[in-house]
């Protein structure tokens, strides 16, 4: 057991590291095996934003077989150091922070003994109970701070985990998504989480609108981020079905490209949902909406300015600089809170020492 002097020294060192910005934020990340995943890009964006603003961030992975994101996100994130739990024997200090996505809630128990800033990252709230012991709270494992992406999720988390501090940081909708300067092409970019539903939609579409069999559905898997954005910005319409979605990045990327979106409203309505697309609660209506839209498009009908304006307005809160400032402000608040705690502890220890 450490005596007071050792504790004071340890906290002083940690305090110094925090004040000198030498502490590290570790982002526990899973391996997508070269598949593009918005949820992992989100983690990398958080890490990169911090790193570029003087807060050292590292990507923490299970082992050295981790493939990385370069194949689909390019070299933008190259500056982020990747460290593996197994091989690198990472030592996490009390002034460091660990950010754990909901995917890894099974590790909370293991991390409970580590004394550092612990943050839970919840993008898909549907998944949080998969590995969380029934009836447990995140705070049971020392995770009293949560970052999530939407107001709805925050509301939900506050209801079931009222002891947690919940912060909202929406994903960055990159400027790589911009309207095409060229005329749009007659194909549909489709993003459907459930492959069997995707197949059903395409089949029904061709059966119901045989005169539109020449219209292609472009599946956006196995594409780099750049290819993804290039394909999205050139299409005449995008189609989105993701009942489990919490935030809904894809529709916003579409809107940023000025590409209208047809979509089924997910079980949890996104914060940004308004008259900014062609939305339905009934998945069976999607094919009719799509067919009607395409027939109008080839007749030369264009989106009304009102809808275009709504799409633009929707994106306003998700501007890159706003989100980046938000990220910094959230993590700085963690740091300041930690500094404050350390100072209070120091004062207490010093008092005990002098008593």
């Amino acid at each position: 057991m450490m005596n007071n002097n050792e504790n004071i020294e340890k906290i002083n060192t940690a305090l110094g590291r925090l004040e000198d910005s030498k502490s590290i934020v570790y982002f526990l990340t899973y391996d997508t095996k070269n598949n593009a995943r918005a949820s992992v890009k989100y983690i990398y964006d958080l890490a990169l934003t911090l790193n570029q603003n003087g807060i050292t961030s590292k990507i923490l992975v299970e082992d050295s077989t981790y493939v990385g994101v370069e194949s689909w996100l390019g070299d933008k994130y190259k500056e982020l150091e990747v460290v593996s739990i197994k091989e690198d024997k990472v030592e996490i200090n009390i002034d460091d922070a660990v950010v754990v996505p909901e995917y890894y809630t099974n590790t909370l128990q293991k991390l409970s003994n580590i004394k550092c800033i612990k943050v839970l990252l919840i993008q898909q709230r549907e998944y949080i109970y998969e590995n969380l012991p029934i009836g447990s709270r995140f705070s049971d494992f020392g995770f009293d701070k949560i970052i999530t992406t939407t107001e709805q999720s925050k509301k939900y988390l506050m209801e079931y985990f009222p002891e947690s501090l919940v912060f909202i940081v929406p994903p960055i909708i990159e400027d790589i998504f911009s309207p095409s300067l060229l005329t749009l092409k007659p194909y549909v970019v489709i993003s459907v989480r459930d492959r069997s539903i995707q197949r059903k939609i395409i089949s029904e579409f061709y059966l119901k609108f045989p005169q539109l069999r020449w219209i292609t559905f472009r599946d956006m898997v196995q594409m780099s981020y750049e290819e993804f954005s290039n394909n999205l910005k050139e299409c005449m319409v995008s189609l989105w079905v993701d009942d489990d979605s919490t935030f809904g990045t894809f529709p916003l990327e579409s809107m940023k490209c000025d590409v209208p979106v047809i979509g089924k409203i997910p079980d949890t309505e996104p914060d940004w949902l308004s008259e900014n697309g062609m939305w339905t609660y009934d998945g069976n209506k999607l094919v009719d909406i799509l067919g009607t839209y395409i027939l109008a498009w080839i007749e030369g009908v264009e989106l009304t300015q009102e809808v275009k304006d709504k799409m633009k307005d929707t994106l306003l809160p998700y501007k890159k600089d706003i989100t980046e400032n938000n990220i910094l402000s959230v993590f700085n608040s963690f740091k300041n809170k930690r500094i404050e705690t350390f100072k209070l502890t120091l004062d207490k220890l010093k008092l005990e020492e002098n008593a």
């Binding site: 092409k185 007659p186 005169q211 069999r213 020449w214 292609t216 498009w297 080839i298 030369g300």
Partner: protein
């Protein structure tokens, strides 16, 4: 002064009450484009004065071109092309019409695709009652159909014949160099033209918007008669012959003697 880039060539081979109505309707479909298109009506000498009397409005600049020789569809269009002085021309059949967005579309696509010399429109085929039958020219946008999505190539044309040249936009200079319809080819003159153009590396693209509406199966129309009229109906052998002829003749710029003889 605003430069007019497009000429609409409208061949008329006869005039009566029905044809007058058809003419007024087809010309009506381009009235709104009067600032950007010229209209050339090509017709036989004997009906020219009658056509000139028809009220086609005051806005369009109309030239009436008298055909002194052959008055079939191909010859009349060719005469219109010979006399065309704008950068582009298109063909309007008397019972067809341009769609309201045609001009906007061609302006956009010609501006964006400088290397393309022929822009076909998606054609909406309707029956005489205006009911939808099918689209034409759209297939090139199907994924993997042609070498380059949206473009028509020679290989595709050797496999598929059904492409509509009326309503298409043609670069005049290039068409004068390449030659236009071969008037001695029956039924498949459009197909031969497209084969010849693609063979000579002329780029043909379909604008993925409906720009033109074509009436199919109208009694008395050229193709209806070739398929149904007792006097001019083609036999199965003849149809095959003209199909093969198109595939043989596209190598030659000028028309050659082609005569069908019963096997």
């Amino acid at each position: 002064m605003h430069k007019i880039n497009y000429t609409v060539i409208l061949p008329v081979h006869k005039i009566d009450e029905l044809y007058t109505e058809l003419l007024i309707n087809s010309v009506g479909s381009i009235q709104d484009f009067h600032n950007d298109v010229l209209l050339t009506i090509v017709c036989p000498k004997d009906i020219k004065s009658e056509i000139e009397k028809i009220d086609l409005g005051q806005k369009l600049q109309i030239t009436y071109l008298e055909n002194k020789g052959q008055t079939d569809f191909c010859s009349q269009v060719n005469l219109g092309v010979e006399n065309c002085n704008t950068e582009w021309f298109t063909i309007l059949e008397i019972d067809d019409e341009f769609r309201p967005n045609w001009l906007k579309s061609v302006n956009e696509y010609t501006e964006e695709n400088k290397g393309v010399d022929v822009f076909l429109s998606i054609v909406k085929d309707v029956n005489v009652n205006g009911e939808f039958i099918s689209f034409t020219n759209e297939s090139v946008w199907a994924y993997g159909f042609s070498d380059s999505q949206g473009s028509l190539d020679n290989e595709v044309l050797l496999e598929y014949e059904n492409y509509q040249t009326s309503g298409g936009l043609y670069r005049t200079k290039v068409m004068k160099e390449q030659g236009f319809f071969k008037d001695n080819i029956k039924l498949t003159f459009s197909h031969e033209l497209l084969l010849r153009l693609t063979h000579n590396n002329i780029k043909i693209m379909t604008i993925p918007k409906i720009g033109y509406q074509h009436v199919n199966f109208r009694e008395d129309s050229l193709f209806f008669n070739l398929k149904n009229d007792e006097n001019s109906k083609l036999t199965e052998d003849e149809v095959k012959f003209w199909m093969n002829t198109a595939k043989k003749e596209f190598f030659f710029k000028n028309k050659r003697d082609v005569t069908y003889t019963k096997a």
